[in-house]
Symmetry: C2
Subunit: 572 residues, 2 copies
């Protein structure tokens, strides 16, 4: 950790990089304009080193930075690549990512061509001259709506125009005037997703879990981790696509890969940022090693850290200025302090502006349900945001939770009286659940899809009730890695022994956690005990529940003694 | 967050406080000697503010600091209290903790007297003059061994002398020469434990979970969180004792309360630090709000954050110099980079010295077993530390793990053949477990103590096997909040149906997750699925296990087709 790192740019990404540098005692020098640059405030290079006052586009200043450090990196891709190439040629200083990579990334058309040439899936695209005819031609090639984009200096929605009809061609031209353009096929995505990839100097890569990103006015607004999908393979595929894309680029460090998840579950790359990225802020609190520390480790040839999440759920909300009024940001961050698991990050920017990223809040929790509840609490403090589909209110009684931890299923609606006590038990412990009908014999396809998607939707336990030749619990257990609780439902013959044996006598390899015949309550309690293995507070609630059972009996002990058993029988 | 905080002292505690200040964009000014003061390196107050060069004992410098800030706090208790009292009288500046508290804490005899006067349990103590006779008198009052301690300026073992026989009295006097003394009864503790308490300006308190602290040569070496005990109430009692003690002091902020856990499970307070403390470093990675951020929130009258741990297990190892050789520290921190879940904190101290705290590593993980395994890996890089009782090697095959997640118990050794497959299944998934005999009918007391202690020892699932009138699983379930898996063992009569019904037909309120008769394998698999709800990697292993089951059958499908069923029967 004895190398000095120079950073082109001192914004919030530089600031978070500097925080990681402090932990490892890595010396860091920032090049940016003004003492108020967020990164400069939180790392003070000791003399003879000092931060540099100037622009990361200024060749002289970049050379000045290079003279002080062993490794150069960027917190923004819009830097002067020519000077970096000169430094690369004339010095031994390591530059990450490589100037070549920065050049490819800076020009979004070059970036797309590079990706397409390497077989990486992207939306279709074409170069476009700045003329109405060129736009018409592009639209006839790629269809409408058409994304017209500036090839350079486009970010946070600046330099993008969505052409919905050909009438808008001249409007688009004047909006994008003076910029080199290209056009992209409209991607009718289901979700926007992102994967952070870290690449070491030898070129091997590791990726963070896929996350969902939610944009408002083309600016990243919210990140939800991990990505939840019905198809359990989507997250892994997204990581694979992102890793393959990053492998085509050169230089070490972190890359943010933004992607579209399409209706057919295919994945297209939207764009790549050659640096830590907004969609990876959540890694500071939620992953074993943050994207910032891993960026440093990568560019300093240190071993990469684990990219795994170490907790079940996280959400990151940007605090974006809506005006010059700093008070709005202060209010939101103060509000966040009252929400457990909310981590406030303020960037120390001197002035607030509309659309400016002033800070963010990362919320962590034991479940999606808990994180979304905390997010709903936070959103009320955030200007222009309202509790929306990503943080819906709790369901009405008798309806399924949007982010269940337990799935209660039964073979037939006739089983509902037996299963309702399971639901009410989960209500008692405030455990989010869904309740529905899945019949092994009458909806076998639904059985398969329900069972296979449960884990990747965030469910941790399935309670399945069935009677007679009760195949549901065992078949579900064969199709999921989750613990399955079986409730034998008593039928009209055999007193439920048929159901019990059908559920409990599973072959070696596939267990079903069987409870007593018709005992939905115990199924709910067992689910609560299982969920309690990862939520300590639930264990305390369960201890209280057991203590209440004891108290109830002790009241009866007392009553029996007071009134005597003859009278007691009458009273009861 | 518009108030400026001044900190007396700029060491590692100040540095971590400064890191929290950056997150909240709280302005902070440090008073300490030298640019190399760890805290000064990572927060740069913007002009007109600047850190102050000088000693926190120098009244002029403290006044200089006071002139710049709204709130004063300390990162070390050995500050000039007189000047703080003057500032308190003459200005509106808030001082946390209060000068009165600092005065009481600085003098360990006053501190003990204060605690005793408020009914807080401590070891017995007495004032001692600096004479052999006084020491003999103290020993006759408090017994031998006797702790002789300096009343002031004692920390990290400095100023402590353990008097084992009266012969050592003159040795003790020369070792402690010139210091005001007191004597403390020797506390033959089982463990040293600590609780961080945060107190807001209104005086209400919150405490972090109790942790185990391990000292080497009187210096805190290792912290293990959370505290594991057979008695499930110890942790809560420790938190209660610590909270009550802190309530007797004035001023806001974090207090570190060091305690002894005695053989009878009673708790005695050793001493209190009026500031963030080494035993709370782990809170940065392991708790919803770190001790540092909570200290800031407290002294700035902001809402206190949650003190809960958000992951199951953590360990903190100090990196302490053994010589002037910085290379040792670099080697240990480099080593840590290769260990998943290890978080390196280097303090940026200019020089290494024997006994100097140069950094620390916090290891987080999904279980005690995982954290201790990672700790064992780390200890090999740390000079003077060897993998010890806190990070023992894995048990030999057929022996219990020291930090089990699953407890396998059976009513009789005759059940072992049925339960071994459960153990082997857990071996397959590398899940740590213990295996022992607990008989409901022959060892009822053991049944109670085993069941009640399981959760607080870190166990997450119990597998209980029993035959005939099989009471073990149900009775265990009545005495724990953990999920209990019951394995009906087939006896000599009734084909195991007696065991099955005894285990599965539990009354409403107490569930047992029952598997098939004699199916120890499925019990192990069910335990793995349950543990998998909190350890994602296990879910992937389970998916692979299921896929292998499928492959095994597909091989048989193939073989059957190739050789035909007549031949197949012969071959088989």
């Amino acid at each position: 950790m004895d190398k000095t790192v120079g950073v082109l740019g001192g914004g919030q990404l530089g600031r978070m990089l500097a925080a990681s540098a402090s932990l490892l005692n890595v010396k860091m020098v920032i090049l940016d304009v003004g003492d108020h640059a967020p990164a400069k405030q939180i790392i003070s290079p000791l003399p003879p080193l000092a931060h540099i006052e100037g622009s990361f586009a200024d060749p002289e200043k970049v050379w000045e930075l290079a003279a002080k450090v062993d490794v150069l990196t960027v917190e923004i891709e819009h830097v002067n690549v020519d000077v970096l190439e000169q430094i690369e040629k004339k010095t031994q200083i390591a530059i990450h990512p490589s100037p070549q990579t920065l050049r490819v990334i800076q020009d979004k058309l070059l970036q797309k061509e590079h990706l397409a040439a390497h077989g990486v899936p992207t939306p279709r695209f074409t170069q476009v001259a700045s003329s109405q005819q060129a736009i018409v031609d592009a639209a006839s090639l790629l269809g409408l709506p058409l994304m017209l984009k500036s090839r350079t200096l486009a970010y946070d929605g600046r330099g993008n125009f969505t052409l919905r009809s050909l009438d808008q061609a001249s409007e688009a031209l004047s909006f994008l005037e003076g910029r080199p353009l290209y056009a992209e096929q409209w991607a009718p995505f289901v979700k926007e997703i992102a994967v952070m990839v870290v690449r070491d100097v030898q070129g091997s890569v590791r990726s963070y879990p896929a996350v969902e990103t939610v944009h408002e006015n083309h600016i990243c607004h919210l990140v939800l981790a991990p990505l939840r999908t019905a198809d359990p393979k989507v997250g892994q595929r997204a990581q694979h696509v992102a890793e393959e894309a990053v492998k085509t680029l050169s230089g070490a460090g972190v890359f943010g890969v933004e992607m579209f998840l399409m209706p057919d579950d295919s994945i297209l790359i939207n764009e790549i940022a050659p640096r830590p990225h907004n969609s990876g802020h959540y890694t500071i609190e939620a992953c074993l090693t943050s994207q910032y520390e891993n960026h440093l480790r990568a560019i300093l040839s240190l071993p990469l850290g684990s990219t795994s999440m170490h907790l079940p759920s996280a959400a990151m909300l940007n605090l974006i200025g809506t005006s010059s009024e700093m008070q709005e940001i202060t209010r939101a961050s103060h509000g966040a302090l009252s929400i457990p698991g909310a981590n406030v990050h303020l960037y120390g920017k001197a002035e607030c502006r509309k659309g400016r990223k002033m800070g963010h809040v990362t919320i962590i929790g034991e479940s999606d349900a808990q994180v979304r509840e905390r997010l709903r609490a936070l959103l009320q403090y955030v200007p222009s945001s309202s509790p929306d589909t990503h943080a819906p209110p709790l369901p009405e009684k008798g309806h399924s939770h949007t982010f269940p931890l337990v799935g209660i299923i039964m073979g037939s609606d006739s089983d509902l009286p037996v299963m309702l006590p399971a639901a009410r038990t989960l209500d008692h412990f405030a455990i989010p659940y869904e309740l529905t009908i899945v019949s092994a014999h009458r909806t076998p396809d639904r059985l398969v899809s329900y069972s296979k998607s449960a884990a990747s939707r965030g469910i941790r336990v399935i309670i399945a009730g069935a009677g007679g030749a009760a195949h549901l619990p065992g078949m579900v257990a064969a199709l999921t890695v989750l613990p399955v609780i079986g409730v034998p439902v008593k039928g009209s013959v055999l007193d439920g022994v048929d159901s019990l044996h059908s559920i409990v006598q599973m072959p070696r390899g596939i267990p079903v956690a069987t409870v007593a015949i018709n005992n939905g309550t115990n199924a709910g309690l067992l689910a609560a005990r299982i969920i309690g293995t990862s939520i300590p507070e639930l264990r305390e609630q369960m201890a209280e529940y057991l203590s209440n059972l004891e108290k109830e009996v002790m009241v009866k002990v007392h009553n029996l003694e007071v009134v005597g058993w003859e009278e007691y029988m009458v009273k009861k």
